[in-house]
Amino acid sequence: MGWPAGFQPRQELMDAERLGRTLARMAHEIVERHPEMSRLAFVGVRSRGVPLARRLATLVGQASGSEPRVGALDITLYRDDLTTIAAQPVMKGTDVAFPINGSTVVLVDDVLYTGRTVRAALDELIDFGRPGRIELAVLVDRGHREFPICADYAGSVIATSRDEIVQVLLKEEDGEDRVVLLEREAGRPKTRRGPAPREARPRPRSRKQR
């Protein structure tokens, strides 16, 4: 697996078995809190939130006898940081094929960090209709919230520093199930990745000679 530039693994937080058990526990919590399953729907936030949402839906279906519908949300068009990230992120598209009005939506994502992704997801979800209730399920809550958002269901709560990355790997996307804590490589500067250089305004060309 290619880690993000400048980062290396420091510690494995979950192996495949633990990840599976964590999801099973989360599924049971969801079933417990929602005895009435008919209006329940899972919406995964792209990209890794989607396979997690599908797995949770299957587990919930096994535990309760009724499998909730699953949708996918691409929040690219709702991000608040588009002018500061390096490249235009690739859009994989939103797919919410069922009516939202009145339903209980469980938003699913892999990692809860600043809360901005969830904020964008809430805005987008509401543009599809008026949900009766929205809850949030995440595999890992790593702290450092910048918005007043918290998870209703958290697989694991970990204290991290801002220099670290919590990387979730899933079979469907990455070929294996694992959660790894990455740290910045020694000697690498702490700068945030800035915007990629865009084509500058054409300047008069100086035709240098041989």
Binding site: P202, P204, R205, S206, R207, K208, Q209
Partner: protein
């Protein structure tokens, strides 16, 4: 009365005398007094020109001074300062001013203005037809008497073959050359560049090279028919060169000029510059095959001289959409450096040949004094520094016009000293020297 001036230690290149060697040049009383080895100063002011090349003063047969009428674009003062800074000691002023120079009164007024404001010699060219409308002939006798050295309706072609024939015939009486801007207007209407693959890609209307060649052929035939003298202005296509070559072989009195931009650039420049209007002129930049034919015409003598077609415009006239922009580029301040770097240093022409193309041969085309450093010739001298390196910077031009396609070019070689009538009118000498 100009003081005596001794140019010491330079390499004198004077093709009119077949001279190329280290000589001193003594100028006195406005003429060349003596050219020889190690001359004694004898009271003359001495200018050290060692390491530099001393030539007969360069003459531009095709300049637009814009005065009278469009002083916002250029004046006699600014245009001749530009000429001096470009190494030219004389310019021939095209008559497409406002009013058109089609009368002795306008010619005299121009010469009067030149007397007070010009820093180099100004030779007026009179119009072929009244108002350059292409219909009635102007008064050639009066024009010649008042000082015109040639005739042209430049800016416009002489569309009628009949009028061109009459002009060539009538001009014979006064030994005037008729200079034609060769263009068939029905083929070139509304065109803003050369017609070809580049105009297709750019979506601009183009004029085919045939629009020029058709009229060149016509003029060569008419000159042959009438025995008159025709000079083809700013020749740009292979077919035009071919027509002139064949005409000369038959003994027709045809001469031709080419501009540095037609020798060095092609219509690709329009695309590469992103529709920069500094690439827009008439005749337009052509395809590379045409360009190479013009260079070859220069080398084999078909083309008699290099002329600038210096055409200054205001910023507003050029800073518009390509198809709306005025035609023309300035050239006095870049021509010599461009030719030294891109023709001589590049091995296309040797230095003596270039000097001839800028001095002796243009003088011969219009029968002008100068173009030679023989004793008694006017004391007009152009001194070149082959080693200087300069970047073309339009902001520093003496001309009011900034419209050049050569901005930013770094050129090796250029004028260092310009002397007219024995007086230094411009100097940019390298290193510390007296």
């Amino acid at each position: 009365m100009s003081p005596r001036l001794l140019l010491k230690g330079g390499r004198v290149v004077d093709p009119s005398q077949g001279l190329d060697g280290e000589r001193d040049v003594l100028l006195a009383d406005g003429v060349v007094a003596e050219v020889g080895a190690r001359l004694a100063p004898r009271g003359a002011q001495v200018l050290d020109v060692s390491g530099l090349v001393v030539c007969p003063g360069f003459i531009d047969l095709h300049t637009h001074l814009r005065e009278p009428g469009r002083e916002d674009k250029e004046t006699v003062a600014t245009g001749t300062r530009a000429a001096a800074a470009g190494g030219f000691t004389a310019v021939c002023a095209m008559p497409n001013t406002d009013p058109v120079n089609d009368s002795s009164a306008t010619t005299r007024a121009l010469l009067e203005r030149a007397r007070s404001d010009a820093v180099v010699r100004v030779y007026p060219i009179g119009a072929i037809t009244k108002g350059s409308k292409g219909e009635e002939l102007a008064e050639y006798g009066d024009l010649r008497e008042s000082g015109c050295v040639a005739l042209s309706d430049d800016g416009r072609p002489v569309a009628s073959a009949r009028v061109m024939r009459r002009a060539l015939e009538y001009a014979r009486a006064f030994d005037l050359t008729v200079v034609d801007h060769c263009e068939e207007p029905t083929l070139s209407e509304r065109a803003s560049m050369n017609e070809g693959p580049v105009s297709t890609v750019l979506g601009l209307r183009g004029a085919p090279g045939a629009a020029e060649a058709i009229v060149v052929e016509r003029n060569v035939l008419l000159a042959g028919l009438t025995g008159g003298k025709v000079h083809i202005a700013h020749l740009s296509t292979a077919s035009s060169v071919d027509a002139v070559r064949r005409g000369k072989a038959r003994g027709v009195r045809v001469t031709a000029e080419a501009t540095p931009h037609h020798l060095l650039l092609t219509d690709q420049a329009v695309k590469e510059s992103g529709y920069d209007t500094a690439t827009k002129m008439n005749p337009p930049l052509r395809c590379d095959e045409d360009r190479r034919a013009v260079v070859e015409g220069l080398r084999d003598g078909t083309i008699d001289c290099i002329a600038t077609d210096h055409a200054p415009h205001t910023v507003d006239d050029k800073r518009v959409e390509y198809d709306q922009a005025a035609f023309g580029v300035v050239g006095l301040e870049t021509a010599v450096a461009l030719c030294l770097d891109r023709l001589v240093s590049a091995g296309v022409l040797d230095l003596a040949r270039l000097v001839a193309l800028l001095s002796h041969r243009p003088a011969r085309v219009f029968g002008l004094p100068g173009g030679s450093l023989a004793t008694g010739m006017p004391a007009d001298v152009t001194v070149l520094d082959l080693r200087r390196r300069r970047e073309v910077d339009p902001a520093r031009f003496h001309s009011k016009g900034r419209n050049t396609p050569f901005a930013g070019w770094i050129l090796e070689g250029g004028p260092a000293l310009t002397i007219v009538g024995g007086r230094v009118v411009w100097k940019d000498l390298p290193g510390p020297r007296r």
